[in-house]
Each structure stands twice: as C-alpha cells, then as structure tokens.
Symmetry: D2
Subunit: 338 residues, 4 copies
C-alpha cells in the first residue's frame, strides 16, 4: 500500500517501448532528430493552437524557466503559499529569474481566487521601491489535489491580464486535471489566459519527460536560451521526445490519469468525513488525527504526513499503475477509521 507519490511509480510499457524504438540508429543531436521535430506539431494539435514545445529534465526546470521568462529580476510572481515553486524547488524560481520574488497568497485547497489575486497584486504595487507584480503561477492540479474549472481559470486570467500580468501554469499533473474535467486541454490553458505551461509526464507514466508548452511566440527564443544555458537541452533529445509522443499517442496520458483519478475517488469514498478536501484528481488528503494515522501505518500503508506536524493529516497519491489490491486494502483501512 505505497501511496507516497506518483513519482515512485515505474514507467508505462508504452513509454519503454518508445525508448527502445528510437534507439535503432544514429539521429541528429540537440533536438534536430525527427521525433523532437514532431513535438511542436503534435502538441499544437492537442492544444488546438500553434504551440512551441521545449523538453526539460524535470518539472522544477520547466517551472523555473517559465517563471524567469515571465518575470524580470525585479518582478513579483504571485502564487499560492503551498505552491511547488515556493515550497519544493529549493529556490529554483529565484535562481533562474535572477532574484524575482514569490508573493504568497492563501486559499482553500491550494487554489487562488480572483479576489485574493487582486488583493495580492494591489498590495505589492508600490512603485520603484517594491518589486513589480509581473506574473501569476497556478498549479493544475493544485498541491492539494484540487482542480480549477475552465471558468475559474478564465476568471484568474482576466484579473492577471487586466493588471498586466502573465500567467504560468504548473501542470506537473496536468493530465489528471484534463481527465478529471473532461475538458479540452485548450480550455484550461491558453483559452483561459495561460501563456506558458509546465506539462508533466513523469508522474503519470514516463521516465523523465517534462515540457514547456509556449503559447506566446515572443517568449520562445528566451525559453530556448534559458533551457540551453541551464543544461536542459539534451544532446540525445530523441529519447525524451519519444516518451512524450508515446504519452500523447492514443490518449495514453488521459487513460492513465483517468485510472488513477478514479481509484483516488474510490479511496475518497472510503475516507468520507476524514477528507480534508473533496477528491478531484489522483491525490487525496485525509485528516483523521494522529492516532488514526498511526493505525493506517500499522496496517501497512505508506504515505507522507502533511500540513502542520501534529495535525494528523496525510496525503495519499495514487499512481497510474496502482494495483487493484492496493486500492481494496487501502479502502478497507480507511473505512475502518470511520
């Protein structure tokens, strides 16, 4: 019953097969191979708009390059207090941007609201003496597993654009969001004002395949430079491209995400009143108290504590290949707490 994280999961067989298939002969380096060169077209089709795609080695790199490309060194990037870029990337956004500042906003289930965003922008626009609000970064799904609706994102986008800010989306679990909403990828990205998307595949079945999807052609050159300069332009780029092509092929990404979402919802039903938030994707948060947490661990469940140390809250993440047996056993364990 390992629910530590979806990044403990292996890669899907389709991904491994894709790696093998591109290994037959020599291919041009640094993204000039035939697979890398198909990425722009492939993503443009998925997103119903011309997009430029830049593969990188990690979600941290994708996020940091995006943030740096949207905010000058004296900029402020508004994000949720629990955002991955704030809490889990060891200051990558500050490093890549040359010292931009993250301005933290509170909100239920790690979501931003238009009102909170407006307030955050207003509070930090104080002329030459303060940093300059330049971008907002939202996570879809959020760090609490919540999913913004297209309308919610469009509302945030309007506030941002109205104040002259750009919009970045941390989509480390973007597939889970699309699968959960049943929407078009475009509905929660550029149609809602998103300029740059960190598109994650690693957690949902790839080995190491993350991409920046750029909807604003004016940013492309800068992104390319930042990627090269940070060591994220790989010489044998075909192996990342192959993963991403296989990930999109036949909607593999949505099938894998839909499966882990569904299993998480089953766990959520078992957890019932102990849920911290409604389950909307493949992560669930429960707060049954310290004793119950200990009981779950004693039953063999593995997961991380969450939030304040003594609060008895935990995060469970369902992986794309989580076994039926795991889910049944965990459901039972959760139900026993009620």
């Amino acid at each position: 019953m390992n629910f530590r994280s979806d990044n403990t999961a292996p890669a899907a067989p389709e991904i491994i097969a894709a790696l093998t298939s591109v290994n037959e002969s020599a291919a041009p380096a640094y993204g000039e191979d035939q697979w890398s060169k198909r990425l722009n077209e492939r993503f443009s089709a998925v997103f119903e708009r011309e997009a430029q795609v830049f593969t990188v080695a990690s979600g941290t790199a994708a996020n940091a390059i995006c943030v740096a490309s949207l905010a000058p060194p004296w900029g402020a990037v508004l994000c949720h207090r629990e955002a991955h870029i704030e809490c889990d990337e060891c200051g990558a956004a500050e490093f890549y941007s040359g010292g931009a500042k993250l301005v933290l906003i509170d909100g239920e289930a790690a979501k931003l609201t238009p009102a909170a965003l407006e307030e955050g922008i207003a509070r930090n626009a104080r002329g030459i003496h303060s940093v300059q609000p330049s971008a907002v970064s939202v996570s879809q799904t959020t760090e609490r597993g919540a999913v913004y609706s297209p309308a919610e994102l469009a509302a945030l986008g309007r506030v941002a654009k109205g104040a002259g800010l750009s919009v970045h989306m941390d989509g480390a679990r973007f597939g889970n969001a699309v699968a959960s909403l049943g929407c078009k990828p475009a509905d929660i990205t550029w149609r809602a004002g998103v300029d740059l998307l960190s598109f994650g595949a690693t957690k949902n079945g790839a080995i190491a395949a993350e991409a920046i999807v750029c909807f604003d052609p004016r940013r492309a050159e800068e992104i390319a430079r930042r990627r090269k300069r940070s060591g994220h332009l790989l010489s044998k780029g075909r192996f990342v491209a192959a993963q991403l092509l296989a990930y999109l092929e036949n909607d593999l990404w949505l099938k894998l995400a839909a499966r882990s979402n569904a299993m998480a919802m089953r766990l959520g039903e078992s957890a019932g009143p102990h849920l911290s938030h409604p389950v909307e994707s493949n992560q669930l948060f429960i707060k049954p108290g310290p004793d119950a947490i200990a009981k779950l661990r004693a039953a063999g469940a593995e997961f991380y504590d969450w939030g304040d140390a003594q609060s008895g809250e935990a995060r469970l993440v369902v992986s794309w290949n989580q076994s039926e047996a795991d889910i049944s056993a965990m459901s039972k364990a959760l139900a026993s707490l009620r």
Copy 2:
C-alpha cells in the same frame, strides 16, 4: 559515413537493458532508490577513493555546477579558449556561478600547459579591482581530441594548487581518455589534483547519464543544493543510476571507448599528413583544405567544419557503434586525399 558527433549514436544494448530492469516496481524518488544509493560506492571503487556522485541531465549541467562550486561570483575560472564551457554552453558557467568570469588561455590541441596557466593566473590577480583566480578547468579528452598524461595533469594541478586554485575536469569523453592512456581513473583525477569531475556517459553509449564526481567532501552539500535548485535532481533517479551502473559494469565504458578510439586511430593513419593533431582518442581533426573537404562530402561523409570558416579543416568523431563499413569507406576516402 556519419562522423558528426558521438552524441548522434544510439544507446548501447546494455544501457537499454538496465533501464528496463529497474522498471519493474515502485521505488523511492529523488535518489533514495537502491540503484542511486549504490552510486557512491560504485564510483568510489572505480576511483579508488571515497567519492560522492551527483547525477545530472547533461554535461553542461555537470560543468556549470562544478564551476559554480569552485569559484565565487567574483572568481575567475581559467580554461582553454576552445573549452566547451566557453564555446558551447551558452554561458552556463556564468549563470550557475552568479557571474564568474572565464579567463581564456591558448595552447596547442586545446591543452593547457603549466607555463600558460601560471601566466594566466599572474595576469589576472590584480587585487580588489579584478576578479579573483579561483579555479582551473581542463577537458579530458580536450576539445581537439588530445589526452593529457597523468604527469601533465599533475603538473597543472601543482600550479593550480600552488596558487590556491581548485581544479575541475570536464570529462565528457572521460572514458576515451582512460582507455587511451590505459591508466587508472584515479591517476588523471584526484591524484593529479582534480577536485570535481564531470563524468560523461551519454556520448559513449548512454541515453542521458552524466555525473559530478566529487573528491572533496566539503563541496558535496553545495553541489547537492545547486543540483536541486537547477532542476537536475530527478524524481525517478533510478533510470539514470541504472545507466551509470550498467556503464561501469564489466568495464563496458572502457570497452566502448577503446573501440571508438581504435577506429579513430585507423582513420588517422589514412589521413596521415592531413591530420591537424595526432589522434589520441575518438576524435580526429583533419586540415586537407576546402577542396578536399568538399570531395569527402561528395563521397558521402558527414562531419562538421572546424576552426576558421575558410580553412578547410574538419572534425570527425567516431561513435561507440560506428560500423566497420563506415570506417573502411572513410579510410579509403581519406587515403584518396593523399
């Protein structure tokens, strides 16, 4: 007859097999898996000394993190004018280090000599108004395919250490150097004063596997932080670790390197008087003039021009899997120029 670069080559079958084998089940993320945890011990055995290993996604990342860990932002890093860190990394060393300066030194076959290094240090130590010489970076093999002997490196190391400088080695083709010299890896690294090594596997048969090998324990924490912060700590680290373990297993790395070295030397014999430098590893440089270069291309050879535009010089790189047929055909083409 594709001799463009060894990074156009596919991965060796042992590397692909290793990837597949670690994909069976869940494993802890961020380097806590069993394969990643074996890296320190494995490399320590190869290098006959306790070493700490940090995998990264590219040689550029390895080099830049090393340089930044050896030089403060106001430091100067001395390197050859043709060094990869100067010419081919889009300013990565400057980015990671917060603006350290590369001081360029000339030398035959892209090698530094102790005298040139001494002169470079002296010329750049001018008190508070100038940057402060802090490290030297050498490439082994060099960007011209030359190989430093253990004695040559030890002499450079003595100059560096005598002046209070640290030593970095860009070992993008480290295996080719060891195979060429028939020495111990230790002889051309820490025994010669090298503090940090960029250990490359990608060009010599891996998919994407580069590592920083740290011989100075005081630098380890800083390297770990810089790696995380730049997005090079991968969540599914086992896939990189597996490549490196397979690469070292049964001396695969030295076998692959020895083969490409030997084939390059065969080409060198055919090129004879047209060689720019003696062939010492898997790269050769020929300077038969523009007409001869055109003739080679007409015969189906692929390679990059090198040096000044109109000089009629070219670089040929032999890959680990270069075919016997390629070598025979190219040998013939080269011999025909004489």
Copy 3:
C-alpha cells in the same frame, strides 16, 4: 510641518564642514586615503571590539551585501513581514544573494520574537527540496519605530545561533536606537550575536554615508568583493569617510538622535490614545481614523499614510533638525484630535 521622512532633512553643519576639510589636496583613491583608513579603528573603539568597516552609498546596498554574505543562493533569510529588505528595496537582497529567499515572520510593532523566529526556522527546514534557513535579519529601530532591548536581541541571537543561523541588523536608524536605550552600541550588536550591521548615518544628519560594520573577520573579504562588484567602492572614498568620522566625533550621532527621539516622544504624548504603538524612537505611528488624518493634512501636516489603505493610520518621522515650531504646531494638531 513636514514629517514625511528623516531622509528629507538636510545634512548637519558638522558633516558639511567635514566634507570641505578633506577637500584641500590630493588623496589616494579607493579607500587608501588617511580618513578611510581611520574608519576601522574608530568604529572598533565605538563598538569595543575589532571591527571592519565598509562604506557604501545607501542602506539598501548595506543590507543587500550583508544578507548576501550571510546566506547562500539557496538560503532563507528570516525577517519581519514589514522589514525594509522585504518591502522597500525592490528585491535587492535577492539580487545580491543570487536568489536567496526572504521568509516573512509576523510580530507586533515590526519586531521578531524568539518564539516566532523558532517557528519560522522549523517551518522552513525541509531538507533538499526547500531553501535552507541561513540568517535572520532584524531592524533596529524597527520599521514601526520600536526598539529591541539588549535582552530581546540576545534572546533572538540565541535562537538564531542555536539553529546555525547568522544575524544581520538593519541599523538605518541605529543611532536612534542607541540613544533611546542609553546602552553601549556593543550591547545591541555583537554581544547579542549580531554578525553584520548596516550602520546608517544618512537619515540622522549625513549626506550619503552608510557603512557595513563587520564583527566576523571571516566575512570581510567577501564583503569587500561584493562592494566592489556592485559599484559601491567609491574612488573618492574620503568624502564618505569624512562624514562618518564627523558623525561619530563628540557623539554627534547620539546627540542628533536623542533630539529627534525626544521630539517624537513629545508628539506621542499629544497623540495619546491614537498611537498605534508606544513611541520609542524618532518615528511615531498614529491611527486616529481617516477623518482625523484628513484634518491633520488640512492643518498643514505632511506625512505618509501607513498600513492598509483605508485604515486611517499614518507615520510621522521627526528629523534631526526638526524645528521647535514644527513640533509645537504638530503637538497642538495631534492634541486637537483627542
């Protein structure tokens, strides 16, 4: 009745006289003049300990160089949410440090408490994925005009040092603090654990004279480099040194500060119940509501609104040369609000 800020005040006659007196003949540049060379000794006497002094052009420069010298790029610097380094320096700390993060702590009157500091450190020490708490920065006087007692600072210093953090003090109004407490400068700096002090003279009677006072000799070389590299090592350094020597001569700094402190306290007595905080230095904060604020302005008073926009709160700063007439008129205006 201009109470906008003490940096609107002219320079004291002693400061102007000092400038003139060092202008008689040629003098070595870049701090090698006789006046600059006396600074270390002079400050060491004032602080009862060997100290190294680095003049800079602004308090922002002093603060940013200090923070960068105490925290690595991946470090976290804990400070109050209203700290000048957070709110008023356009990201200077992030710029100079290469992207360190400011972690914000709440506290009455812009003061940190040991408990809040401990909690802030604990909340932000999460291993490799988060930035690393490295330093704490306190303002003395605070941005709300409060003054830490020696015991309060010592308690903060113990928490910081116990957790391995260094301590920086933003002393833009350091003279006002010393005059208010009647203590030795040492009591609220190195004796309480302060490693680096931004010592401000500009607000309290100088033209442009700020200094970093370094109590930790191991930091001196780094500070010198950062100062040079940021353009704060002045060629004609004698003119800054002369200001600082005159400022310390015959306790001019404490006399000027004592005067403005005393006048602020008189205003505080008039404001009575409208004070946001007790008056402890030359700044006072009143919260009589929007109508009363408008009334003060109508009476000819000039000052800045403070805090939330509609709260009807204001900051009054008394300058070293504030006239008796100003104080009388303002006292009357404040008293009329009661």
Copy 4:
C-alpha cells in the same frame, strides 16, 4: 608630482559650493527634489535630444547597469581587451547582467575598429550553443587615453546596429573627450548610435557624481529598476544632482577637462619619442624602459606602471587641478630622458 590618477584630485570649488547651497532646508527624497527633477531637462539641452538621466554612485555602477540593460543574461558584450568593464570592475557587468559574457577584442590604443568588431561578432554568433552578441561597449576616452572621432564612432555604430547590437559608451572621462574633439556631445553619442552613456563627473572635479544618460526611452524603466535594486537610488539625491548641475553650469566640465588635456599634451611634448601613443586627452602613456621609469620615480614622480610588468611602461594622468609647478617639474623630468 602626483600623476597617479585623476580620482585622487579634490573636488572643484563650484562643486562644493553647490553641495552647500542645496543643504538649506528639507527636500523630497529619492529624486523627487527640485534639483534632481531638473536633470533630464538639463542633460537633454546639453545633448540636443530628449534624454533620461539616472545618477549613480560610481562609474562601475553606471557601466554595469548599462550593460545589463542592453544584454540579456545569455548575451555577449563586445569590448576592448583593456576595457574598464573587463579589467577593473571585479566582474560587475557579469553580476548585474546575470552572467552575460564579455567578448574581448584587440586594438591599438584600446580602440575598437569596425573590422575587429565585425570579426568579433561573426566569431561569436554560433546559434543556441553560444552566447548571443547583444551589445558593444566603447570607452571614450579609451583606457589608453585615445579619443574616437565622431566618424570613427559612427562607423562602429553602423557595424553594431547592422548586426542588431546596442551600443554603450563608458564615458568616465567623457568631458575630456568632448573638450579634446571640440565637438558636440551629441556627435559622439546618439548621433553615432550610442544608446546608453555612462557620464562621469567624479574624475573631472566632482565628489561622487556619475550618471547614466539614456537615449532610448524603452530602456528607462529597466534602468530605474536596476538602479534601485542595486542600492544606487540615493535617498538624498539632491546632493548628487547639485554636483551635476554645477558641473554642467557655464561649461565648467569642459573648462576643467580642457585644462587637464592641455597640460597632458605639454607633458607629451616633453616625452616625445617615449610616448606609447599620441596624447589626445588627459592621460599619457610612456615607455622609456625600466631604468628611466626608476629615474622618474627617484625624481619624485608618482604614477602607475602599465602593461606587462617588466616593460618599463607607465601611465600619467593629469588632474583638473594639477599645479603649474607639477607640470613644469614633470616636463623637465620627462625631457631629461630623451
């Protein structure tokens, strides 16, 4: 006979008087005072074009902010191998720009030629793997005391603009250049393609007054941000503004510069065949050999050695207030070497 540097000189009486005159009463801070607000208009008149002026504390700061505003972090800035930004600013350009690279060009008397500039640009434009030529920085006067004619600068400007590069001028001794040429300031700045000028007053009679003169309104916001963020926006800005206004008043700057230029030329006539370069401003370089250098020192002359250590070359700088006696004595000493 102190010819060490013009920054060892005191300030001109007019500058001191200006400081005193603005010290009478309170004035708004951070450049909102009446003197600072006149700077744009005053410089616009001098330069016959609308310009925006940003005062900073040092020439290093002016240069570094200019370079950072013209080149992205992945940019290359082409300059002479002896340029102040390369040799004497401890990496300030790299710091402010976030790691841009200085590409060094050779040229007689520290001057760039159009051909050398073209070659430097071509050599460094190698696509994504190398930094991107973005700006050229010229020094007027040069570090060897030479002066570019308007036509020479225009030719450089055409090469730069033709290749898409911006142009920065390091005018630490700009007044000496204008006085030497007898031209309009516009002729050697924006009319020749200069986008940003570091305008120095400190060496030529001020205390500490340097300014960035911005001829490209699109750069102004960025310059303002970089200035604030680096601690160069002074709270009591009037004292710098007053120096600059006095410096321009009645052509004081040109009178002072013309005087030191003329005296340097007298020394040049005495030095005759020992001159390294013709004398064109207030610096002269002589190369009479080590023995003659020692003889000059024995006669009481103070100056810096220049160039290679044992070459017996020296730099003499004439200050605005150099005495007639100094010049006579030095002329005699120089003549005695012939």
